[in-house]
Symmetry: C2
């Protein structure tokens, strides 16, 4: 009879816990031991900002499975407060430390899974370890912040970093009554987005009285004599704060792997093959600590998100059990919500594509309603679709709005997964009743706008060249819309008057047409083109303009 397989798992959150549970389902005989240096077996780390904010009131809500449940239900041993300190690959052993007693001990493995996660980056500046400065990774971290809020009653917070966690924390601190200042190193919030798509996010933060300081970085933290903190930045600004949250990104916890001589990529993440196996054939790694192939660009990247971690855990376990399994790569699908706004993206941004040296792409913008305009309550969606010029393959999509944002990004995520083109999007048959969508859903419209470009029905004007263009700008909106704000130098010829006033337009000079959303200008472009004019469309119209030129 075979010896039962002994599998050790380092890290009990997300990927690690999933590994253990699936392994048990596939192999009733295996000995499974889960190590975690924290006090819990498995907890919902994506819920932590909402626990701080009090949306989730009871800490027990965050505990997904206790060590008892693991033992009783799955016959899995969980050793919390036990840290794996080293891997002895030649002997297939790990060295662990019981944090309660300090005892060091060794455990043999047949297979080892590393799921240590990622650790918040701490700016290397003076004072970063002062009391009142917190990062958020674990339940104890969130407890500390809650306690600080409850006992100190802070009024002012500085959040360092305007990414997903930073903005979720910002919302939750505002919810607790704090005045929040956000300091972000880059010139935009939500660095995962292209800058013009981040503009509506900035506006929403500002209308919720969040002070934004972009393109600036913290240079020091000091303790004021009155007990508050003083945060100074490279630009010379200075903010008083009663609480600081560090949310400037994370770093994969690959030190253990590195020390054991496992291959680590240039991003700092553990390098794995398609079956999540590291450079040692007895060791697998999953989750925020690994680097993965980007499905669109083909580049190695870090994708510290729970969804991919779950899929990686399945793949690793299948591989350990001798099944065929392949992680297909990550596409970076992401969503985040604050102040009633939802921001989501999937696939590559223009920044990603440029970073990967890819230039055969085109972007279009649209701003449809979340559902049929004739039914009350529709909210604008700001969408950007990026596709390959050569064949129309969808490369990425970004969307911002109050309703229906994540639905469209999910649909587009599957389209990217299945290598769909913009022509497929034109043909999607999606749910339509007036309170849910439109006969032409925003996803269909995105496909149509893009396909119109590829079929040569419309040529697009490049937004980035607007300040330098010698083209005549024609605004085809109604006069009252034009009067309320327009692009400098544009002339106003409302669409309804275009047939009649066609004689006013020059035939030798290129014309760039725009309207509010891009639909009326599309009609105008088709009309003018068929009448022999050289004409381009400013994709997405005035709604796109203020994203580019705020």
């Amino acid at each position: 009879m075979n010896q039962p397989k002994r599998v050790l798992i380092v890290g009990a959150v997300a990927g690690g816990a999933s590994c253990a549970a699936r392994l048990r389902r596939l192999d009733e005989q295996a000995e499974i031991v889960l190590f975690d240096r924290g006090p819990f077996a498995s907890f919902a780390n994506c819920g932590l900002p909402y626990y701080v904010g009090g949306v989730i009131e009871d800490e027990r809500q965050l505990l997904l499975a206790s060590p008892d449940l693991f033992r009783q239900r799955f016959n899995i041993e969980v050793r919390t407060r036990n840290e794996v300190a080293a891997i002895d690959r030649s002997r297939c052993e790990i060295e662990a430390r019981d944090l309660a007693t300090g005892r060091l001990y060794r455990e043999r493995y047949d297979a080892l899974v590393l799921s240590p996660g990622a650790t918040p980056l701490r700016p290397q500046v003076p004072g970063v370890d002062l009391p009142g400065i917190f990062a958020l990774r674990t339940i104890p971290d969130s407890r500390d912040i809650r306690e600080w809020i409850q006992t100190r009653r802070p009024a002012r917070a500085v959040v360092v970093g305007a990414g997903l966690i930073g903005l979720e924390m910002t919302e939750n601190l505002v919810r607790r009554g704090l005045q929040v200042t956000v300091v972000e190193r880059l010139p935009q919030v939500m660095p995962a987005l292209d800058p013009e798509m981040a503009e509506p996010v900035s506006r929403r933060l500002e209308t919720n009285r969040v002070a934004l300081h972009l393109d600036d970085a913290v240079s020091a933290f000091e303790a004021d004599p009155n007990g508050a903190l003083r945060v100074t930045t490279h630009s010379g600004r200075s903010f008083a704060a009663d609480l600081v949250i560090l949310a400037a990104g994370t770093r994969p916890e690959s030190d253990l792997a590195k020390a054991a001589g496992l291959e680590v990529g240039s991003s700092g993440g553990i390098r794995v093959d398609e079956s999540m196996r590291t450079s040692d054939p007895r060791i697998w790694a999953v989750g925020d600590a690994v680097e993965v192939r980007d499905l669109v660009t083909g580049q190695w990247r870090l994708v510290p998100l729970a969804g991919p971690a779950q899929r990686q855990a399945r793949v690793a376990v299948d591989s350990i059990c001798g099944r065929e399994a392949r992680f297909r790569g990550a596409q970076g699908t992401m969503v985040c919500g604050f102040f009633g706004l939802t921001v989501a993206l999937t696939g590559a941004t223009e920044k990603d594509l440029r970073g990967a040296g890819i230039s055969d792409y085109q972007a279009v913008y649209l701003h449809p309603g979340s559902h049929a305009g004739y039914y009350p309550g529709a909210k604008p969606l700001h969408m950007k679709l990026i596709f390959r010029r050569g064949d129309g393959r969808i490369l990425g999509a970004q969307a911002v709005g109050e309703e229906g944002v994540e639905k469209r990004i999910d649909v587009l995520a599957v389209a990217i997964q299945k290598q769909a083109t913009v022509f497929d999007l034109e043909e999607c048959e999606l749910c339509y009743a007036p309170q849910y969508g439109a006969a032409k859903d925003p996803v269909n419209l995105a496909g149509m706008v893009a396909a119109n470009v590829l079929r040569g029905d419309v040529q697009l004007a490049p937004w980035e060249e607007l300040p330098q263009t010698v083209a005549l700008l024609v605004d085809v909106r109604d006069p009252d819309e034009f009067a309320a704000g327009h692009i400098d130098g544009a002339v106003n010829v409302p669409l309804g008057e275009l047939r009649r006033r066609i004689g006013e337009l020059p035939r030798e000079r290129e014309i760039w047409v725009y309207c509010e959303l891009g639909q009326r200008s599309y009609y105008a472009v088709r009309f003018l083109r068929q009448n022999g004019f050289q004409v381009r469309n400013l994709s997405g119209g005035y709604q796109t303009y203020w994203g580019w030129y705020p």
Copy 2:
């Protein structure tokens, strides 16, 4: 120089209006005339129930484009209150009647597009034309109903038909304060769903004090002496009503096509090829009046929905303009909402598959939360996924719930369009933040549940054989759940006690395991199977049970 092409379009709603607008964008020279026997150029017919209910207050909201706008903006002539009475194919002329004057006249065409829509079915029973009995197709219809409600102050309504329109009307009449009785010929509401998936819909209607009479049909309408209506049914029931809505389906308006000798399918819809061309090469047809290929079953069917009509309009116009164009078929994606519940489906149901003689399929059920359980407000989703046993191809999906229903069906609609398998669903990378989804989204879970079956990790027990089975039913829920209700004859062995009590279970007799949702029973199945038991899972557990055996 070429003569401009003369294109006549019959029917100005949805398909017809879209044809006209797109044709103008592609061909600035064409002469385009749009005929409609009604008073409007283009209106939002999917909004009519909500106009009756007062959700949409202003009738003008429903008017998408006026004849003036068509003329001014697009140089398109719209002849409302003009009915096309006949087609003279040999002379390429139509005969039209001006309904205001009664004048008959002829118009020549180079291309003719038929977009006449579908007409509500009227039961052929005595009294169906009595005052107070309405069907809902046009703005004047909805005006009549609104006026009847405002002037007569009806208290009781009977809605004939429990399909999409019937239930939307039911909700809107309840909203107006009426007590509604629904009479449906079939033994279930929402006939587009499989019966067990319609069960939560029935419950929701009943908790909103809607009286349901299924498996029954109206046999007569009479006028009571007191001015009310009396509705009697084949089963002998009788209801007093102050208002009756006929919503028992529609019939394609193919009489004009038939009279002209165009081919009509067995469903009664106009037969078209992939470019939406009828059997006459100068005549195209789109919308509710045509029959289309079902993308999943390959059968001809009627799909009277706005989304496919829009796509068909594009295809027809592209074909008229000499472009390559192909309607890929319809998959019947559909959504409808009432009383806070959303019902949606895409692709084939089991009924559809059986009707098409297809038996190589398997269905699984699941009941995940709409988002992560640890974040407040998650609502249960009832989902059914149908896939091909041979290769895992997704064939259809149905979902019912309060939140996130249409999102999952949209994702699955694209998956079906792109011929994805359940293995693809396991790997979908979808939006996850706790208020939007889960690290394993319901779509991922559906894929996993299905893939577990195809990989042989779980065998499913057939729900339909439950009453006859000789298997031992094991309920692995907790004792309090068992006590609150369980399947007759089941024994209770909670999952946590299964390892310890394994000796109590028989090795010779097949065991069917269930829990509340299907997840704990999956663990139990894996455990028992690896210990040598013959065991099957009742997919979706107790939540599925009450759909099958209400």
